[in-house]
């Protein structure tokens, strides 16, 4: 066994240089709640660990003119303790607050949740529904991509050698927008999603839904954007007929596998049920709790 090195760069340039030198067998360490488990189970044996928690850009939560930006290594507890962020992005926080125990959230980051690329990652559908983008730096410079373009399959990402996710940007929502995420698990806490649904919807002054985005987790190799499900809401007042159409379209979009947490048929059914519930929460938030 070769010696495993550990580095704590304090700048993005240094981190990128270290990772590029690592030639694919360097592992980024943020909260470590997936990386250390993978090491413990001998699933990975990196030559180099690059701890990115001392890089300031990865640790900040900043309100900008056009939206909110938060560092990829900001922990779940840091987000939960940020009152304004929680009020502005309740749908994102629905997902973040479901990630593991308080102990796990004390370390785990959204960046790690996205880059670990589990199809069942709880923060991902809500981030996609909210239109989040990721800022990535690497040896070739900086690029911004939608969050849904990071995971390409279970445990696989589109990041190239030497690239790291620096931060996420959540663009300001139009007035009358509500977002929500729920997952189905046999237990209420400390479990992995059988199905997860994130929805963001915007209501016009007339109460008619003008735009919507629906993302489904744990029903395909990556989180899915269900365009037909979103289309079922647009132009409606999110009434019963619209919710029926949403549920049918969400179920139809699923491409799940059978596993110990659920069968294909079960996941397809639950996706519809859950989409309906999540849409109602998003609707209530869009109405500002006035309903």
């Amino acid at each position: 066994m070769t010696e495993m090195k550990y580095e704590v760069p304090t700048s993005l340039d240094d981190a990128v240089a270290l990772l590029a030198d690592g030639k694919g067998n360097a592992k980024v360490l943020a909260g470590g709640t997936d990386v250390l488990v993978q090491m413990h189970m001998d699933l990975i044996e990196p030559d180099l660990i690059v701890d990115i928690k001392n890089i300031s850009e990865l640790r900040q939560i900043t309100k900008e003119k056009d939206g909110y930006r938060f560092g990829a290594a900001v922990s779940g507890v840091e987000l939960m303790d940020h009152e304004d962020f929680c009020q502005t992005w309740p749908g994102i926080m629905d997902g973040v607050s479901l990630i593991g125990s308080l102990q796990v959230k004390g370390r785990a980051s959204v960046g790690g949740n996205v880059c670990n690329a589990s199809p069942a990652a709880d923060s991902v559908p809500a981030m996609i529904a909210a239109g989040a983008t990721a800022t990535i730096v690497g040896p070739k410079g900086k690029r911004d991509i939608p969050v849904e373009e990071i995971a390409t399959g279970p445990g696989q990402t589109s990041l190239e050698d030497g690239e790291i996710v620096v931060s996420f940007f959540l663009p300001n929502s139009a007035p009358g927008t509500g977002g929500a995420y729920q997952r189905f698990t046999p237990r209420t806490e400390m479990d992995i999603a059988v199905v997860g649904v994130g929805i963001s919807l915007t209501l016009g002054d007339d109460g008619v839904c003008s735009s919507a985005k629906v993302a489904l987790g744990a029903v395909a190799a990556t989180a899915l954007i269900a365009e037909a499900a979103a289309a079922a809401l647009v132009g409606t007042k999110v009434d019963k007929a619209a919710l029926d159409n949403l549920a049918a379209a969400a179920s139809a979009a699923c491409k799940p596998i059978d596993d110990k947490r659920g069968t294909k048929e079960y996941r397809i059914k639950v996706a519809g049920v859950l989409a309906r519930r999540v849409a109602l929460i998003a609707l209530e938030r869009a109405l500002g709790g006035k309903e």
Partner: protein, 158 residues
């Protein structure tokens, strides 16, 4: 193999240790520093038996690398009692018989203290939520919840 020299603070004492990259904070606490209060139940962050605080944040020490402790302040169960005087949570765990085999107890006490620091007057549901990351296979939790609620009341001076 080259080891890392780490300087940290544990329960208020400055501590230096040597560790390899692959060693967790839990490995360091138990095997190098002989602070064996924190237990390894699962090694994957599911059971909470290794709970400690790191700069005041509740974490599983099995999911922290030893080398990450550099410059940090760590609190473990060994620092909870004041000499021979038990912390109110410890005393209430004894009074309510909130343990059987005791493996989960150090982690539960650390989590409970962390919970009460943030929320001195929790509801029963908040206590259950706050301790959801600590598994106990003996008690069924009821006595643990009662002990924490009782300790919270005493600590509020009520």
């Amino acid at each position: 193999m080259k080891k890392h020299h780490v300087s940290t603070t544990i329960n208020g004492d400055e501590v230096d240790f040597l560790c390899e990259t692959s060693e967790t904070l839990l490995d360091v606490l138990r095997d190098h520093l002989h602070l064996t209060g924190a237990k390894e139940g699962c090694g994957t962050g599911d059971c909470g038996a290794c709970s400690v605080t790191l700069d005041g944040v509740l974490v599983c020490s099995c999911l922290v690398l030893g080398v990450e402790a550099e410059g940090k302040e760590i609190e473990t169960i060994e620092g909870m009692a004041d000499g021979d005087e038990l912390h109110p949570l410890q005393r209430k765990f004894v009074e309510h018989i909130a343990l059987q085999c005791g493996i989960c107890t150090p982690g539960l006490l650390i989590s409970a203290r962390s919970l009460l620091e943030k929320n001195p007057n929790p509801t029963e549901e908040e206590v259950r939520f706050g301790l959801a990351g600590n598994l106990c296979r003996c008690t069924g939790y009821q006595n643990i919840i009662e002990a924490v609620m009782d300790a919270a009341q005493e600590m509020r001076g009520a």
